[in-house]
Symmetry: C2
Subunit: 116 residues, 2 copies
Amino acid sequence: MKNYTKFEKTKGGRVELHEKLGLTGSEISINALPAGANIPFVHAHKENEEVYYILDGDGKFVIDGEEVALKAGNVVKVAPAGKRQIFAGDKGISYICIQTKAGSLGEYTAADAIIG
Amino acid sequence: MKNYTKFEKTKGGRVELHEKLGLTGSEISINALPAGANIPFVHAHKENEEVYYILDGDGKFVIDGEEVALKAGNVVKVAPAGKRQIFAGDKGISYICIQTKAGSLGEYTAADAIIG
């Protein structure tokens, strides 16, 4: 079996990559909300932290009642307990959401690497 | 303490987000290689799987000796044992690299969510 899997994103809405790529340490989704749209509920997590990377457009988070402005290049980590809801701005917003188990990472980068 | 942290990417080279955002389930880096450049070594990992999301440009991976073409919107998961090296093409390449502990994710999305 190969040590890699590859997915090619085409135009369109939400894509969930866990099964498509055989991910075992994360769920990663690619998302797009049109101008003025929003995820229609507030949510938190039991065990997982989320990282949102804004690819394009603008919008805002409401996290525990606080507004956090979003634009391309912003990265936001939300702890499991954070009550979050994302809203697209006038340009719409596209983003990657990375879900991992809080506290699960051990060593990383150089300390986890095998060179050569 | 707030349940979120935010980072704003400006122009430039590699940024490592683990400490900047207080990540506990991943290390995430934002990377850019100019046209014709490459990471100058082959590496694998002890425990971590990596997911590469190509933001812009083009290039290729060599994974276990096999070439894998890369362009914007491609997502590649590499298992810990995969011997990988990334090369920028004529346009340069920018990408996010997400490192998580292989096998660490439990429930996710709806099964891990608390609504409201």
